[in-house]
């Protein structure tokens, strides 16, 4: 049994959540307990398959899986003259990192949502949609086929938009869902046009084949713009971040925690396009695109945190902080891309900058997810997200307060937690690249700390308020979900080195090694 499952892991990675989603309407009819059991079973199975796949990739190198061929590991059929013709999943170390993030986060938020959404109606549809969002994100990060990436991008956009509009909230959530879906569909259309340009010229859909045939004609530059702009928009980079606060604030808290991972999957797509598809050192002007990411990053950092200070809705405040933290990832990887050309600068600080950026992706997914879950816990008990109306909850909700402190200190980059580990990597490497950027990053970090101290004070400290007399700690599933994420936040903070060596360093090597990415499919089978 073990070899059978291990051999077909990439297929099960998508098939299990889809099966869970398709059977949900039927299982849902059989009552609450059966439905919750099915949801927990599906979430555990998906996370187990995801972590097993990531472990297999980190142990044995890139995993290839060809759908529908004679054998799972043979990318090039004998009579095809050396071109891959089917859909191939190429899970390298970078995809494995993203699969780990999606697996951990989806397990935590599904357990959390068992209690958090128990008062809502239409829960079968909610859980089916959640499984589809998880399947869409897992597909986006592990596929090696450009059109397959578009299909999974569309699944996660539609499922995300429907989940944002789930609570309806007298039309406010539906408005946020409509705007998110409209922007995502426009972005997907641009990606589809770029696919049309690439297949019109190179008659290939596999990312490795396209990369090997890329000649950087003007059409390819138009295709690059049509690919990079929508993906940057969907990961919440500043000039196009308007949908993020609305969508994150009105979605149910467990969904918001996973929308963070879904936008990081778009960030992964942006890096995959820039590094693996277009990253050829001779033609590709890596300096300009490095600075494109850096400018995007610095803008996101600064605008995000300055817009966050005046907010009084706690989830909208956290959404702006999510935009500003995305800036750190863009800055880290942007510095790496900017020095991709000269080898010594890359060896000195380029790789550490990218390691910092990638490490920040997983850290941010964990502590931002934790913060959104604590905001959801407060909303579950008090029924409001308005900071002016909250206060004195620390007395009755001690665990939520502890989890909020862990998340807030982590996002501000305070030492014992994981935020500090990745931000330190970014500070020291970006400082060698250009001191000004590093100082901006530090200032933004201090502003983040200030903002979260204010939120902590207005939510948990102060005298116990009369209207919250009946407030007590949240049910166990919510605490379990938060604990799962908090354990990672503390563990990665206290001992970051094993995480960096085992998970992040191979991902950086995989991202930079374009020739290896192509050789895995075209080189030899």
């Amino acid at each position: 049994m073990d070899t059978f499952v291990m051999r077909h892991l990439p297929a099960l990675l998508i098939a299990v959540p889809l099966l869970a989603a398709f059977l949900m309407p039927i299982v849902g009819g059989a009552g609450r307990v059966v439905r919750n059991a099915w949801v927990v079973l599906g979430a555990l199975a998906t996370s187990a398959v995801g972590l097993a796949l990531a472990w297999k990739v980190l142990a044995a190198g890139t995993v290839l899986y060809v759908f529908g061929a004679a054998a799972p590991h043979v990318p090039l059929p004998m009579d095809s003259g050396g071109i891959p013709i089917r859909i191939i999943f190429q899970v390298d170390a970078l995809s494995a990192l993203m699969v780990v993030i999606a697996s951990l986060s989806s397990l935590g938020i599904t357990i959390y949502s068992l209690a958090a959404e128990s008062r809502q109606s239409g829960l079968e549809t909610f859980y089916a949609m959640l499984f589809l969002l998880v399947a869409g994100v897992l597909g986006m990060v592990s596929t090696g086929d450009l059109f397959n990436f578009f299909v999974f991008l569309e699944i996660s956009s539609l499922a995300g938009a429907a989940l944002v509009a789930y609570r309806v909230d007298n039309g406010v959530a539906v408005e946020a869902g409509l705007k998110y879906a409209l922007l995502s569909t426009l972005g997907a259309l641009a990606v589809l046009t770029a696919i049309g340009i690439l297949i019109g010229q190179y008659n290939a859909l596999n990312l490795a084949t396209l990369a090997s045939r890329m000649q950087f004609t003007t059409l390819d530059k138009i295709a690059l713009v049509l690919l990079a702009v929508p993906l940057a928009m969907k990961c919440g980079a500043v000039p196009m971040h308007f949908w993020t606060p609305d969508a994150y604030a009105t979605a149910p808290s467990s969904v918001t925690a996973f929308l963070v991972v879904s936008s990081q999957a778009s960030l992964y797509g942006l890096f995959r396009i820039l590094f693996s598809l277009y990253g050829d050192l001779v033609h590709f002007s890596w300096a300009t695109f490095g600075w494109f990411l850096i400018v995007l990053g610095v803008l996101s950092m600064f605008v995000g945190v300055t817009m966050a200070i005046p907010q009084k809705d706690v989830k909208r405040l956290m959404a702006y902080h999510a935009v500003s933290q995305t800036g750190y990832m863009l800055l880290g990887v942007g510095v790496g891309l900017a020095v991709l050309g000269n080898a010594d600068a890359l060896a000195q600080y380029g790789k550490t900058a990218m390691a910092g950026g990638l490490f920040h992706i997983i850290n941010h997914a964990m502590y931002k997810g934790l913060l959104f879950l604590t905001a959801g816990a407060v909303f579950y008990r008090t029924g409001t997200r308005n900071l002016n109306k909250l206060g004195g909850l620390g007395h009755d909700m001690p665990w939520t307060m502890v989890f909020f402190m862990i998340g807030a200190l982590a996002i501000a980059g305070v030492p014992p937690f994981n935020g500090f580990a990745s931000k330190l990597l970014i500070y020291e490497s970006v400082f060698r690249f250009s001191p000004f950027l590093s100082i901006v990053a530090m200032i933004v970090s201090i502003l983040t700390l200030a903002s979260f101290v204010k939120v902590f004070h207005s939510m948990f400290l102060g005298p116990r308020r009369a209207e919250f007399a009946a407030v007590r700690e949240v049910p166990v599933p919510m605490l379990a979900g938060m604990a799962l994420l908090a354990v990672f936040v503390v563990a990665a903070g206290l001992a970051p080195q094993p995480f960096v060596d085992r998970l992040i360093q191979p991902a950086v090597e995989a991202l930079v090694d374009r020739a290896g990415y192509i050789a895995a499919i075209l080189g030899g089978n």
Partner: protein, 94 residues
């Protein structure tokens, strides 16, 4: 001001895409090796006369699974929007 901005975006788009229209050769695609493989082997490998259906369901069947999922997502989404809400479920945005 709004109209100037929008017309600027439209002109930019029009110019970029006009180049695209003029540059991509219509009628004789530069490379056709993958498609020739499909045309050559579809009948023998999948047994279907309609090569497009053999691609949709056999060579790239996984895309079609994703696409059926997209349709299923849309149906769930529409169902979610028109469900009967319990009273007090909606949070009044203060």
């Amino acid at each position: 001001m709004r109209h100037v901005l929008f017309s600027a975006i439209l002109l930019l788009f029009f110019g970029g895409l006009m180049y695209l229209a003029a540059d991509l050769p219509f009628g004789d695609p530069p490379r056709t090796d993958m498609d020739d493989y499909f045309l050559r082997t579809a009948q023998e490998q999948t047994g279907a006369n309609n090569v497009v259906t053999s691609i949709v369901f056999d060579f790239r069947g996984f895309d079609t699974l994703g696409e059926a999922t997209v349709l299923f997502t849309a149906v769930l989404g529409v169902g979610m929007m028109f469900r009967k809400l319990k009273e007090g479920e909606e949070y009044e945005n203060d």
